[in-house]
């Protein structure tokens, strides 16, 4: 009951957020230099052609009317028609979204797999060489542009050793895991560095907490102390961070998707911007916003199941 209430409240709070997002993106795209009509008809089109196209797209209407239409149509689930793709925006996005979602979750999963154990090793060896080594290596991951890492992975692991395919994204679940492994690694190198950093300091902090000392004083086995008492508590702040970075990850996929030839929404967004595809940009942004809000909500819910102090309200 309380949880449902909480979810309702959060959903309610999202309404003004989305409205703000809609205003920002609407204004922003209309300030983009370059005309969608030219983007459609090409540089060679005549003025009359352009005028006709603008008329057809409703770009000649006053701004407020356009915005009103945008809002009302969006509420009805109609995001308009993509100029670039000549198809309904919702359809275009839904075709591409699963790939990006898969890639993002995959990367997050890999990051946790990499960062989790290593954060423990680093925290337990705080200040000694394993700690220094782990932190330095992750720092490298943190400072390398993904397009560079991606290319190195592709060149050596895919093209030369042929362990992995160069591009594509597979049809079955297994094939996807295989195809998207390298792009996920490229993303995960960055994300895991952030998670590792946070988790490590959280673990160090928790290791010194009084309740962990108390757990030791109770004579619990080490495994239980680390697993039940330390990890759970250390995870709390990391989960928030993870939620936050999933948002960035999803928009960050646009470079990854370009390098690895993965047809996801990130690349689509880039194409949409370069084609001045107003409806598609707007639709994608809103989709991002909804997804990210849902992820935030989920992390908060997860956190509140983890941390009883956060329950209710």
């Amino acid at each position: 009951m309380a949880t449902l209430q909480y979810i309702l409240k959060r959903l309610f709070l999202m309404i003004p957020t989305f409205f703000l997002v809609m205003i920002i993106i609407f204004v922003l795209v209309r300030f983009l230099p370059g005309d969608p009509a030219i983007a459609i008809a090409g540089d060679r089109a005549s003025d009359a052609d352009l005028e006709a196209i603008r008329e057809r797209l409703g770009l000649n209407e006053p701004m407020l009317v356009q915005f009103w239409l945008f809002v009302t149509n969006t509420i009805q689930g109609d995001l308009g028609s993509s100029i670039l793709m000549r198809a309904p925006v919702t359809e275009v996005i839904f075709n591409r979204l699963p790939t990006t979602a898969f890639l993002t979750l995959y990367a997050v999963g890999l990051s946790l797999l990499i960062a989790g154990p290593l954060a423990f090793v680093a925290a337990l060896n705080r200040g000694r060489w394993p700690d220094v080594l782990i932190r330095t290596v992750f720092q490298v991951g943190l400072s390398m542009p993904v397009f560079y890492i991606g290319l190195i992975l592709l060149t050596f692991l895919a093209a030369q050793l042929r362990w992995f395919p160069v591009g594509g994204y597979g049809d079955t679940f297994g094939a996807r895991l295989y195809h998207l492994f390298l792009p996920s690694v490229a993303v995960a190198l960055y994300t895991s560095a952030i998670i590792m950093r946070n988790l490590r300091s959280a673990i160090i902090e928790v290791l010194d907490a009084e309740y962990v000392q108390f757990a030791r004083a109770k004579g619990l086995p080490n495994r239980l102390i680390l697993g039940r008492h330390v990890l759970r508590n250390a995870l709390i702040s990391t989960v928030t961070l993870l939620g936050l970075s999933i948002g960035n990850l999803m928009s960050g996929t646009l470079v990854t998707e370009t390098v690895f030839a993965v047809p996801g929404v990130g690349r689509l967004m880039l194409e949409a911007i370069f084609a001045r595809d107003y409806p598609l940009i707007q639709g994608l942004t809103l989709t991002f916003a909804v997804l990210v809000s849902v992820v935030f909500l989920l992390t908060d819910l997860f956190q509140s199941t983890l941390d009883p102090r956060m329950r209710l309200t």
């Binding site: 370059g34 030219i38 005549s46 198809a87 275009v92 290319l151 042929r162 395919p165 690895f260």
Partner: protein, 511 residues
């Protein structure tokens, strides 16, 4: 070559730099669409091997009346659409009428001379308003590809465009008569062509073309990744190879590095208006300054830096050497720094004059060109500064004249110089590529050439236009580049035409 043991079957995997959105003879407006139309939709006539004339296509015969106002064609017997339904005169009339309808086809201007099209059995008659020297070329151009009227009539959708989109989305044989039909499509991701078993042309072994079972396209926008795909054997063909990688791939025995001759030219429109958009005087309005920068540009060096030598300087100011009626008067504005400096002195250009060079953001070639020009023009006292914009912004600036110089490229869509010359020099089309150059003599010559059916007279008109244009230099004339396509050694027979069209009809792949 007589190759009776032609290998048949197999699927060709092709890595593209960008995807098609809608391959329809009249709605194809971006190169990734246009260059695929021919594989799905056959035309009445076909370009000849040398590209300078036309040969029989769906129409086995054609003739033009003496007054140049009537074209008669005879449809080949027994040609069908890919699903086996017969292709009739009615389909031809429907297709051509559709293509010349100004309200729907962006290319209708190319067929502006047509007054009416009619069919009686296999006999097709096209009546023209006025003689049109380009009409036969047009009938061999993608936009006149023949579509099935029946399929269009049956398709869902209120408008022609909606019908086209619906047909495209559902794919399958039936709408076209090209060597392939569309049998799979995921927008922005992949596309599949399957062989049309009812194609009318026969291969060297006497059986119908194409040899391939099909072609699978993958879209890989990143240059380096596309190459890696080819090197790892995941694809057989990778197009748009950056020229910097050409020598490396050329050296690879498993790969044939093709440089297909093209009609692509790379040039820079120069704003010739007296004042800039902000009202300040435009130093480039002076023809001597424009000539000077042309002389000061070492095109060979540029070709070396940008293309690794895989290109040649423009010889005709208005078109690629491969375009019909190109005069090829030899190197245009060969590098001559003394002459350039003399012209600058004559024009009295102030030292340190700032000129903005607008480039496409993210384009390595543009950055290189800019860096090179900056150094090359420094001796002229020109301080070249860069302004990076994205495609649509560049388009808008070109249109409104808010630029000094920017880079542009061109590939012919039609096998006739009319299109490119209209674009580059004829003021009413687009202010002579946005340069604002306006030459009455040139414009008159161009208008006359559009209806001149005497080949010799027309050639003279084009020669005159090229001379005028070269002298006035509204462009920085740079270079022509080939189409760089890397093909696995196991592939044979794939070509990209000078117009950019991908021809898979006679391609084979041995596994």
């Amino acid at each position: 070559a007589p190759a009776f043991s032609q290998e048949r079957g197999g699927v060709l995997n092709f890595a593209r730099y960008d995807g098609s959105n809608l391959i329809d003879p009249i709605y194809a407006d971006r190169n990734p669409d246009i260059w695929m139309v021919g594989s799905l939709f056959d035309t009445l006539l076909r370009p000849s091997a040398d590209g300078n004339s036309v040969v029989a296509g769906l129409a086995e015969d054609h003739s033009v009346s003496d007054d140049g106002k009537t074209v008669s064609l005879t449809l080949r017997d027994g040609v069908t659409f890919a699903d086996g339904t017969p292709l009739t005169g009615e389909d031809v009339v429907f297709s051509l009428d559709r293509a010349r309808e100004p309200d729907q086809s962006p290319w209708s201007g190319l067929l502006g001379s047509i007054e009416s099209v009619s069919a009686e059995g296999n006999a097709i008659t096209i009546n023209l308003n006025n003689p049109d020297p380009t009409i036969l070329s047009m009938l061999a151009t993608f936009t006149t590809g023949i579509v099935s009227k029946a399929v269009f009539d049956a398709a869902e959708g209120a408008t022609d465009q909606e019908k086209s989109a619906a047909i495209f989305a559902s794919g399958g044989p039936g709408v076209g008569s090209g060597p392939f039909y569309l049998c799979g499509f995921e927008q922005g991701t992949s596309m599949k062509f399957c062989a049309n078993e009812n194609y009318w042309r026969d291969g060297a072994d006497g059986k119908p073309l194409p040899y391939l079972e099909g072609v699978n396209f993958q879209i890989i926008p990143d240059d380096a990744t596309r190459i890696l795909k080819l090197q790892s054997g995941e694809v057989d063909v990778a197009e748009f190879i950056p020229f910097s990688r050409v020598p490396e791939l050329d050296a690879d025995p498993a790969i044939n590095m093709n440089l297909f001759p093209s009609t692509r030219i790379i040039y820079s429109p120069i704003n010739t208006r007296e004042t800039r958009a902000d009202g300040s005087p435009n130093p480039l309005a002076d023809v001597r300054v424009r000539q000077a920068v042309n002389y000061a540009t070492n095109k060979d060096a540029l070709i070396g830096l940008v293309l690794q030598g895989a290109g040649k300087p423009m010889t005709s100011p208005l078109m690629a050497a491969a375009t019909p009626l190109s005069t090829n008067p030899g190197p245009l504005y060969g590098y001559d720094m003394e002459k350039a400096q003399a012209l600058i002195a004559e024009a009295g250009l102030e030292q340190g004059t700032e000129i903005t060079f607008t480039t496409l953001a993210g384009s390595a070639d543009d950055s290189t060109i800019f860096a090179a020009l900056q150094q090359m023009w420094a001796p002229l006292g020109i301080n070249l500064v860069v302004e990076q914009v994205d495609g649509p912004t560049r388009g808008a600036k070109n249109r409104s004249g808010e630029f000094d110089i920017h880079t542009y490229g061109w590939v012919n869509d039609v096998n006739d110089p009319g299109q490119v010359v209209g674009w580059l020099g004829y003021t009413p089309t687009a202010n002579a590529v946005g340069t604002g150059w306006d030459n009455a003599e040139f414009n008159a010559l161009y208008e006359a050439s559009q209806t001149e059916i005497d080949p010799e007279k027309r050639a003279q008109q084009y020669a005159d236009m090229q001379a005028i244009y070269a002298e006035a230099a509204p462009l920085l004339f740079m270079y022509e580049t080939p189409f760089a396509v890397a093909v696995s050694a196991s592939v044979d027979g794939y070509v990209q035409t000078p117009l950019g069209n991908n021809i898979f009809e006679e391609a084979t792949v041995s596994r």
